[in-house]
């Protein structure tokens, strides 16, 4: 263990588990866009705190949404 951190870091929780969102649909742009930052890359789990099963569903949904031009592949 290196130097002890003094400040308290809040534990991140999975939005989908907490709010009991079962279906992550590719049509739900409002929900999905919360997980695509400016560069329109998929937000990594370590930042968003989403759990592994939900992240898998989420990334699938985002990729489908990209395919039908609801979300961008890349935006500069």
């Amino acid at each position: 263990m290196a130097m002890q951190k003094q400040y308290y870091r809040r534990k991140k929780v999975c939005k989908f588990c907490v709010e009991r969102i079962d279906s992550i649909n590719y049509k739900d742009v409002k929900l999905l866009s919360q997980f695509v930052p400016e560069r329109s890359k998929i937000m990594p789990r370590r930042i968003s705190g989403v759990c592994t099963p939900h992240q898998r569903l989420l990334s699938d949904a985002i990729k489908k949404a990209r395919n039908i031009a609801l979300l961008p592949f890349a935006s500069e």
Partner: protein
């Protein structure tokens, strides 16, 4: 028979009747093959996230379909050929629906179990906020 969703984008300059005509044709293909078009939704004009065939916007149409793979193949072929359709996407929904049903059943079972454990069998709508399920 499987459940699919077919979404496609029509050229934004197309008239409303043209969109209806395309919908009619697609529905015809589905029913002719023995499938069923459960829902046809026109989602209206939307801005596209990126440029598709030089268009910045398009009118979206969503089909909810019960059909076999062969029908879907035929529908996709038709969509590819149509000039007015600029993009399409077919998604299989039954795996997702199965998963959702499983989760729902699991929750109901757990809620019932918890209610019984507390001796609240008569009071199904438990007062504890923890077991308040989203109504479906």
């Amino acid at each position: 028979m499987r459940n699919y969703e077919i979404m496609f984008i029509v050229n934004p300059t197309a008239a409303d009747e043209d969109v209806d005509k395309i919908n009619g044709q697609i529905e015809g293909v589905i029913t002719a093959g023995g499938g069923k078009a459960e829902k046809i939704e026109k989602l209206g004009k939307r801005r596209l996230a990126y440029i598709v065939k030089k268009f910045r916007e398009g009118s979206f149409v969503l089909f909810t379909v019960q059909a076999d793979g062969a029908i879907i193949r035929e529908v996709e072929r038709r969509l590819r050929v149509m000039d007015l359709v600029i993009k399409y996407l077919t998604v299989r929904m039954d795996d997702d629906m199965k998963r959702l049903a499983k989760i729902k059943a699991h929750r109901q079972k757990r809620a019932a179990h918890r209610g019984r454990a507390r001796g609240e069998a008569s009071d199904r709508r438990g007062p504890s906020p923890a077991e308040q399920m989203p109504e479906e």
